[in-house]
Amino acid sequence: MKKIGIIIDKYHLNHKVTDFLKYLKSIADVKIYLEESYFLNSSEHNFDEDLFFTKGKGDVILGLVKLIEERTSIPVINSFKAAWLAINRFLNSTFLRKAGIPVPDFSLNPQGFKPPFQDYIIKNIVDQGVYKFAPKIIEEKESMRVADKRALDEVDGKEHQYNFLYYQKFIKSKWEYKIYGIGENVYFYKQLPVLINPNKTESREKIDEIPELKEYCLKAMDIMDIKVTSLDFHKSQDNQFFLTDINCTPNFNYLKDGYKIVADYLLEQAKN
């Protein structure tokens, strides 16, 4: 049996991977590397896995992934580069736009400086913790302005970290297109935007392939070295798609047989 190491945090282990682990253990030897109990020592390591899978993006997880990448030739899905770019919104927007993928206009401003566009959503700068998006709508006259509570807390609240806010131009869209990329396969869903219906799964439906989104998805995965991902797209009133979010630890339970698709993909990669 192939050996697969799962690098994970407590939250994902307890809430997101039950079916996935049950199935993976039936087809591979699985070893768990739990972030909260892992002792990262730069001088001592002894890995005999055929492949690692990361399900988390905390600092020890990133450090361990970096160590494996630097000291061994064992493949890691997703890589350090993938996780680092995914959690740094400003960086992924910068590199995706440079690669020709349409992303909404964005700006990083000190508190008190408004962005050069009228409608916007304020998002957290480093998307690293475990958190559910908590939008606060701030409508001013004709404008649509939304802020994620965590982003505001990082500037004003108890969790003060920065004096900067990340603004993304708000693209009004009837649907939010949820695209999953697993290896070379792309899966298509749509749902009502969270601002319209906070229950994400209630309106979610599988849709036919949209070639344009498939192209963007595979291109983004290539640029960011991300092998397992979910991407959110909004469609503007003039029918242009915009990539609003890219995730390196997607919840594949929302995908039909998602746990099996991911596990089979990992096993296939471990054999290569």
Binding site: E36, S37, Y38, F39, L40, N41, S42, S43, G58, D59, V60, L62, G63, K66, L67, E70, N88, F90, L91, T94, F95, K98, D105, F106, S107, L108, N109, P110, F113, P115, P116, Y162, N163, F164
Partner: protein, 266 residues
């Protein structure tokens, strides 16, 4: 030519660089954290100087560079020297010796470390220099300061050097352990092995090797040289060697900017 400087302060070295270029007829703007807005508005300058490793200046550097405006020093190399874990592997890749590190929760560190592992140095994982750096002699002294994980490094007993380099010139000073580059230091003749180490580092940095500094410790017992902190843009406060560091680095930056601008035009 319009030059932007990304710097925490508009005084000190950034202020001197501004003055130097203004005297040569350039227009210079210093962007501090108080007025830095990172979007297309930054693209009107001809090149940028990335003086600080602060996250937001790094973001600005990456953004500007991605839009084909030269940034000196290179933002990617600067970033790799900011995160301690990344810089450990970067220096290792260059063939240099680094102290071993441990990274985990305070509880796991308490379980895994023995008394003979001490003394250790506690450092912020993102950062450089002496801020938040402290020697600890027992597990009881580990303070997470609200952070979930703690980064610890083996403390190397020995002679501490602050080594600046500007182009081929190396300037070596002996410093007190754990102090930043601003305390007064004694200039010494650069030992051959330190000179070789700097050469190795510059060779590894290739076109990004204009200037910088390394904090180096010669271990008392083994006499081996350990790099404990790299720096991409020191203040050169203790430059006690020939010539003015401001003039030297400004000329190197200008030359590099011209090369990068020609490259991007092609």
């Amino acid at each position: 030519m319009n030059i932007g400087i990304l710097s925490k302060r508009s005084t000190n070295l950034a202020g001197k660089i501004k003055k130097y270029y203004e005297n040569k007829g350039f227009n210079v703007t210093i962007y501090t954290l108080e007025d830095l807005t990172i979007n297309e508005s930054l693209l009107s300058n001809d090149f940028y100087i990335l003086k600080s490793k602060n996250l937001f200046f790094l973001y600005a550097g990456f953004f500007i560079d991605a839009n084909d405006v030269p940034v000196i020093p290179n933002p990617q190399i600067t970033f790799l020297q900011k995160n301690r874990i990344q810089s450990h592997f970067l220096l290792e890749k260059a063939g240099l010796l680094m102290p071993r590190f441990y990274f985990s929760t305070p509880e796991i560190l308490a379980d895994e470390l023995d008394s003979e592992d001490f003394p250790l140095i506690i450092k912020p994982v993102m950062g450089s220099g002496s801020k938040g750096v402290k020697v600890i002699n027992s597990i009881q002294e580990i303070k997470a300061d609200g952070k979930k994980f703690v980064y610890l490094e083996r403390y190397i007993e020995g002679t501490h050097y602050n080594v600046y380099f500007i182009d081929n010139q190396v300037c070596t000073l002996i410093k007190s352990p754990l102090f930043n580059e601003h305390v007064d230091m004694e200039k010494v003749e650069t030992p051959k092995d330190i000179n070789d180490l700097i050469k190795k580092w510059r060779l590894f940095l290739a076109e990004n090797n204009l200037f910088g500094h390394l904090d180096i410790v010669r271990e008392e017992s083994s006499k081996e040289l350990y790099v404990v902190d790299p720096g991409s843009f020191p203040e050169f406060t203790n430059w006690k060697c020939d010539g003015s560091p401001v003039e030297k680095i400004c000329s190197l930056i200008l030359e590099q900017a011209k090369k990068l601008r020609n490259k991007s035009k092609k």
